[in-house]
């Protein structure tokens, strides 16, 4: 068996497991977004409709998977990690809704469907994003997520740090500012911007799984490193996809980074250089999983690193 086919087999095994985990994640998201009994009001229904539209119509559910799989590899498999995973996914979905807005990336398509502000309107999309972000913290903070209130509070704080001005929102600001800046971003600045914009929430997904499972401090460090490498690899793969795909395969507008002269590592390193960087990050992620000493239980997290680097959409 060549290296390539071993990689293909790992990616296939991962894809299967990711697909298997999706229905459980989506059933919980559906429950968390269910209309309240007292909410039988058409006017109020519009916001919930927009929230459901933004969350329930597709997505790889990679972040939930990473959280659930990390907790599972450490021996915790109940609904607690599932709820925390959904909280992270709600934050991810809110960020897509707001990033797609006319004032931001101005996108009409997302996963092959109209973006939320096109399907509803701009005000509704802003509010739906706000409400999804808010709901994420409600889900994370509520008792069924973890028996220990201190862990729930730590999960809330960690989710906030990964999502706010020191994380995702800060990264999006850097990304937007760079588009109109006179001096282009340097490589280190791009890496930092992407670590904030995409990496922080992916990394937190893994860290949250370890927090829920009360992992030891060395293991938590290893998971942090793994999450950081996965996050960086994910963004490079995304930029490669954008540079090389067409809209039909991508389900959203393609080639838009180049169109906007957006700085990515692909534009700095070239496609081949970016692929080498991807390989390095995959090796780094797998080394970190080895250091976490999960044995056989860690194999899907190893596969995840390969999957992230080789994904097609």
């Amino acid at each position: 068996m060549t290296d390539l086919s071993a990689r293909d087999a790992a990616v296939e095994a991962f894809r299967l497991r990711l697909d298997q985990s999706k229905p459980r994640v989506e059933a919980m998201l559906d429950t968390l977004l269910a209309p309240t009994p007292s909410g039988g009001n058409d006017r109020r229904g519009r916001l919930l409709d927009a929230m459901r539209y933004s969350v329930l119509l597709g997505g790889k559910r990679l972040r939930p998977f990473l959280l659930i799989e990390t907790a599972r590899a450490l021996g915790v498999g109940d609904d607690g990690p599932l709820r925390a995973a959904c909280a992270v996914e709600l934050v991810h979905c809110y960020s897509l809704v707001h990033d797609d807005l006319p004032a931001m990336d101005d996108d009409d398509l997302r996963r092959g469907r109209p973006t939320t502000h096109r399907a509803f309107d701009e005000a509704t999309a802003i509010l739906a994003g706000d409400a999804l972000l808010t709901l994420a913290f409600e889900v994370m903070a509520d008792a069924p997520t973890h028996p220990d209130g201190s862990v729930r509070a730590a999960l809330c704080a960690g989710l906030a740090r990964a999502s706010g001005h020191t994380g995702m929102a800060g990264g999006q600001m850097l990304d937007i500012s760079a588009e109109t800046a006179t001096t282009p971003l340097e490589r280190s600045e791009i890496a930092r911007m992407q670590a904030m914009k995409t990496g922080a929430l992916l990394q937190f997904s893994v860290e949250a799984g370890a927090m829920i499972a009360s992992a030891s401090s060395p293991r938590r460090d290893a998971f942090s490193q793994y999450g950081a490498a996965i996050g960086a690899a994910f963004q490079i793969a995304d930029d490669l996809l954008d540079a090389e795909s067409d809209a039909a395969a991508l389900g959203k507008r393609a080639g838009k980074d180049g169109e906007r002269n957006k700085a990515t590592l692909v534009s700095i390193l070239g496609a081949n250089g970016a692929r080498r960087e991807l390989d390095r990050l995959v090796a780094e992620a797998q080394l970190a999983i080895t250091e976490a000493r999960l044995g056989e239980e860690g194999r899907f997290l190893c596969f995840a690193a390969k999957y992230v680097a080789s994904r097609q959409n």
Copy 2:
């Protein structure tokens, strides 16, 4: 002393105490929004600048006051309530930034200054609002807010419920939808919309103070009733102000409710009817404080009810 001058004296005493509490609240907000040591990056600074602009340039700080004063009346006066109070204020400020956006209320002025999207730009204002909302949960969840993790988690959950689709964001959606609806809102619908849009966060401010101070269940119920009455009174006073003030006194565009044919209780009850409703709510709030049996310690919360009903801006 007539009833009127007793009311004036109470309002004056309250105003003095509110002014006294402001510097402490604003110093903590300033600390929470301080640039991080590693954040010496001009590009990243823009988001924090917009967040600081949105939070630090004025405001009555009524919600923080209610939280701090409730906790104080119950014997807790350290930095915990102050931090929780700032978390609530961050949510309030985020909601103003997003409500002012062109797609929402489209306002150019707030507290006599350009709104955040006018002072910066729309994308920055959206992100600043997002990041303020996120920061609120980080502040609430972090250890210095309360020694008991379960209380911090409960505060996060309560803040989320008051702010999200079942609270403030849901109320704003109802309010916006009503502007373009063919059938006007009925009185009960307006009351519900306002209870969600404005009332929920004011009510939570009071409830959070009681949670932090581990108040007994009957006292917590009394504080809930007080908070709900204060919230409803606040909104009616706001609508009366909008109907009767000019922009110079208000620091924002006045008369805009009538301009947009926005349904308010003032438009349904008339100004005199609305004032009678205000008096009823003040009495209800004061009765609830009496039921909480705070004695002399509760007097500023009693005064707060009068202040809310009689405020001029």
